[in-house]
């Protein structure tokens, strides 16, 4: 049996989607994980629509300008701003996940002396810094959408 053919060991996911809401005591990172999934799903839905809308350019200038006039309606503008917020959060939280995945921000090894510091506590300054950057991006976007574009 090659490694590719080896069965994947799975465990019953008793809570299902309810498990995303967090049952028990969790740090803020747990809620960032849930928000990362929700924003990811929203961005994927937007991407599928976006592929069809932008492909309509092939039908010519008139079709494109009619579609763009539709997307300039207030409802679409709000939806577009929500997509922008989702992007800003998902991107910056994604940077955190990649850095953690690659082993950055874990800090130097420490002796296990009370009061213990868990890995999440060590990574928290990185999380706070990246969420501040995300907030700045969101504010810049808000300024753009609701001030400059009007």
């Amino acid at each position: 049996m090659t490694p590719d053919e080896a069965p994947i060991h799975t465990f019953p996911n008793r809570l299902g989607i309810l498990g995303w809401l967090g049952k028990g005591r969790h740090g803020v990172e747990r809620y960032l994980y849930v928000l990362h999934r929700i924003t990811g799903l929203a961005l994927l839905l937007f991407l599928l629509l976006h592929v069809f809308v932008t492909s309509s350019r092939l039908l010519g200038r008139e079709v494109w300008e009619r579609l763009m006039a539709l997307t300039h309606q207030p409802l679409f503008q709000w939806a577009e701003f929500l997509v922008y917020l989702a992007f800003a959060f998902h991107a910056l939280n994604g940077v955190r996940l990649i850095l953690v995945e690659l082993g950055f921000a874990a800090g130097r090894a420490e002796p296990p002396v009370y009061p213990y510091r868990g890995s999440l506590q060590r990574q928290r300054p990185l999380m706070i810094a990246l969420m501040i950057v995300a907030a700045v991006l969101m504010l810049t976007g808000g300024f753009e959408f609701f001030w400059l574009d009007r």
Partner: protein, 125 residues
């Protein structure tokens, strides 16, 4: 091993998206802010600007790369969630087949539109 490869591609796609989509979002959505620096950045959705970007080989290649990376990243993410919720090997197999074929169809449509626009924009009227 195969799953590890898929995961590595997922992280690699995220890095590509971060750079290319970051630029795309800045150009398309922060145009008012960028226009304060250079008025040429204003109104990226005007037909003339759409054609100018389509004419550029760099923009076209960047969009094709972005399309591939976002489709892979998004569909792999959704597959992960589905696999978490449904441990049945049959459901996993069908999810993989549906996502690979759906993703390939969307990539074909999107990249065809990009390349056809690039060719049309470069053709003298």
């Amino acid at each position: 091993v195969r799953e590890t490869k898929f995961w590595t591609w997922q992280v690699a796609a995220a890095v590509v998206i971060l750079v290319v989509l970051g630029l795309h979002m800045a150009i398309m959505h922060l145009d008012g802010t960028l226009a304060m620096i250079d008025p040429a950045w204003a109104d990226p959705l005007a037909w003339g600007n759409v054609l100018a970007r389509a004419k550029s080989a760099l923009f076209t290649a960047g969009y094709v790369l972005l399309l591939a990376a976002t489709l892979y990243h998004g569909l792999y993410g959704l597959r992960t969630m589905i696999c978490e919720l449904t441990p049945s090997p049959r459901a996993r197999r069908w999810t993989a087949i549906a996502f690979w074929s759906g993703g390939a169809a969307l990539f074909a449509l999107g990249s065809y539109a990009l390349i056809a626009m690039h060719v049309a924009a470069g053709t003298p009227a």
